[in-house]
């Protein structure tokens, strides 16, 4: 059986598997055991990149992934990332989150620590402000608790460009990359080249637009979408996988992966262009659906009780932090 390709992570010298396991979905299954089976089988198949985030499922995603990685005995072979969720609040809060993440993930270091959800127009300036989260990144690096640092966001390429343009030496940047993004408010067109110029590793996410809407409507297939995303100049494509069946489908694409031809990619972009043009499938760009309650509270945006993350957060109010001053 072919191996999953390994790729350089920017200029860090590290190598990571061309697909990564999304942390949010690892907290989705009904039981820890199901989640563990997915993690163990992925590791066995050669997936080394593991995404996570302090605020996913109120900590359950980190807890389950940490436990499953510990029982696999492979921590040292993996590239473990999690994200910090200050959303404009101060560095001291970030350092507390780091300790919680390390404890849940059952490790004493992270390979990568990223600022989560840089999604609102004023997030870059809040992150870079005196006492802001950027200072925590430096501090954590100096303390040997994190090897590399980056940031993530799903809202708007211009927010990413503002963040990159501030000149901080990020090792990575994460963004939605798929065949709908390709022609509309496009991270692919606007951010990927800029990150490339600065040798910042690009981490793709939402290869199927986060909700698989276009697949359900029959517009494209899952395999087409994943192949497109993996064919971009990215270090890895983070996939949301919450069943063994989805893991198998993704592994099938990833094993012995060969990128699409430029012509194949162009043709898929054209096929998707009309329905990309109003954002119907990229709800992370046009709505609050993908903005965690922590992010909304910090920015005083409203919560809606139907949102799954909001429901979970309301059940566990202790994990909610106050809005930024």
């Amino acid at each position: 059986m072919d191996a999953i390709p390994m790729r350089e992570l920017g200029k860090t010298g590290a190598k990571v598997s061309a697909i990564g396991m999304g942390g949010h979905h690892l907290g989705d299954p009904a039981s820890y055991d199901e989640s563990e089976r997915i993690v163990h089988e992925a590791i066995g198949a050669g997936v080394t990149f593991f995404d996570n985030c302090w605020e996913y499922h109120n900590g359950r995603s980190e807890d389950w992934a940490g436990r499953a990685i510990a029982t696999s005995g492979k921590r040292k072979n993996l590239f473990l990332m999690t994200k910090v969720c200050t959303h404009g609040r101060q560095a001291s809060m970030a350092m507390q989150m780091l300790e919680e993440s390390l404890r849940r993930l059952r490790t004493d270091y992270l390979d990568l620590w990223q600022i989560h959800g840089v999604s609102f127009d004023n997030d870059p300036e809040l992150a870079m402000a005196k006492g802001g989260v950027i200072e925590a990144l430096d501090q954590a690096k100096r303390a040997g608790k994190v090897r590399f640092v980056g940031f993530t966001g799903h809202k708007d390429p211009s927010i990413h460009l503002k963040m990159i343009g501030m000149g901080y030496p990020f090792d990575t940047v994460q963004m939605p990359l798929n065949c709908y993004d390709a022609t509309w408010r496009s991270f692919e067109q606007r951010v990927v080249p800029e990150a490339g110029k600065r040798e910042i590793a690009v981490l793709g996410m939402k290869p199927m637009t986060g909700k698989a809407g276009p697949i359900e409507k029959g517009d494209v297939t899952a395999a087409e979408m994943l192949r497109y995303a993996m064919s971009l100049p990215v270090a890895t494509t983070i996939c949301g996988i919450n069943t063994l069946e989805h893991l198998h489908q993704n592994l099938e694409v990833a094993r012995g992966f060969r990128p699409m031809s430029a012509e194949e990619m162009r043709s898929l972009r054209e096929q998707c262009r009309a329905r990309a043009a109003d954002g119907r499938y990229e709800l992370y760009k046009v709505s609050l659906l993908f903005d965690n309650p922590q992010a909304r509270l910090a920015h005083a945006f409203p919560l809606d009780a139907k949102n799954m993350e909001v429901k979970e957060a309301l059940e566990n109010m202790t994990n909610l932090s106050p809005p930024r001053p």
Binding site: W184, R275, A277, N307
Partner: protein, 353 residues
């Protein structure tokens, strides 16, 4: 609701003759124009609502208008009709509506209220094709005329240009723009325009087609002033073409900022009405109380000074800078049912924000 309470309190203070003290408290320390503003505030209560030229049309309309969506939300229909009548008696001539508001209820209520009063007002409604063809538009026009009990509209606008591809769809062959021309030729509408609340770039794309729109409607308030700003990006372009500019959402569309105490309701409305280039400010009015409070601001209205406006902008810019006071720009909250259907979006229930 605390918005109402605040407005009502303001009104009480005003009618008790305490307006000058109030204005003094709020502004004297920081603004050299405060005494003048107080004087005009006092004068405001006896004056008429100013009329302004509606773009290049030669028609004049009241500087404040009554929003159609809120009329459909008044719990009691007689109360809604009273709002319209008292508004007209107070000097309001501009009436907003849309084919899709409350599935036609807003147009029906306004139509009933305007029986015998139609000729004295400037009546607008909006067409809601959301990308569909001109025949849909012409059917909607007939619905609107029937519900509004009139044989012509003063203004017919393309509603809710909020999706990035709306301009392209509207201007496509057989699209809604052709219906605007047809309706004009048939004498069923006098003037035409478009509306939207999402992004100045979409408005600019509509204007980029060089169609002779008479008006454009957009959110204009002190938060918009510094965040993805229609005031900065669209008003000057429209004004340069001699178009009428219709402002809406003077409080940010939901009153959250007023509730948070960031801005007072009177201050917010005065800011919106003072923007150079704005013709009329459409205000959502769902009770007689709110109507009276707005009338109190609009009577004898004199615009804020440039310094006063700059001071408000500067004060509210930090909390405005993530868009949480303008949810119509940053969430799906204000995006209506028909447009979502036509653009293949989740429903209001499934995706409230």
């Amino acid at each position: 609701m605390s918005t109402t309470t605040t407005r009502r309190d303001l009104l009480k203070l005003t009618t008790a003759g305490a307006a000058m003290a109030l204005a003094g408290c709020a502004r004297a320390a920081s603004s050299p124009t405060a005494p003048r503003a107080s004087t005009s505030s006092a004068r405001a209560r006896t004056g008429e609502i100013p009329k302004r030229r509606f773009g290049g049309t030669g028609v004049r309309v009241s500087a404040i208008g009554i929003g159609g969506s809120h009329l459909g939300e008044v719990p009691n229909e007689n109360e809604a009709i009273r709002i319209v009548h008292e508004g007209i008696d107070g000097g309001i001539t501009f009436f907003d509506n849309a084919w899709e508001y409350h599935d036609g209820k807003s147009e029906e209520i306004l139509g009933r209220a305007l029986v015998g009063k139609r000729d004295g007002v400037f009546l607008m409604t909006k067409v809601c094709t959301h990308g569909r063809d001109r025949t849909v538009a012409m059917q909607q026009l007939e619905d609107s005329l029937r519900r509004l009990k009139t044989d012509h509209l003063d203004l017919w606008q393309v509603h809710e240009c909020i999706y990035d591809n709306d301009p392209e769809l509207h201007f496509a062959k057989g699209g809604v723009i052709e219906a605007l021309l047809e309706a004009k030729q048939q004498g069923k509408v006098r003037y035409v325009g478009f509306t939207g609340h999402k992004d100045p770039n979409i408005h600019l794309a509509m204007l980029g087609h060089d169609f002779p729109f008479d008006s454009a409607q957009m959110p204009l308030n002190c938060f918009d002033a510094t965040f993805r700003s229609f005031e900065q990006n669209v008003v000057p372009v429209a004004a340069k073409r001699g178009m009428a500019v219709i402002g809406m959402k003077s409080m940010g569309g939901g009153g959250q900022a007023v509730q948070a105490g960031v801005v007072g309701p009177e201050e917010a409305l005065r800011y919106a009405m003072s923007i150079p280039g704005v013709t009329v400010t459409v205000s959502g009015i769902d009770s007689i109380d709110i109507l009276r409070q707005n009338l109190a601001v609009a009577r004898g209205f004199e615009p804020m000074s440039a310094e006063e406006m700059a001071a408000i902008r500067t004060r509210v810019a930090p909390p405005a800078s993530d868009g949480h006071f303008e949810l119509y720009k940053t969430t799906k909250h204000f995006d209506a049912k028909v447009g979502r259907e036509q653009h293949g979006y989740l429903t209001v229930d499934e995706l409230p924000l």
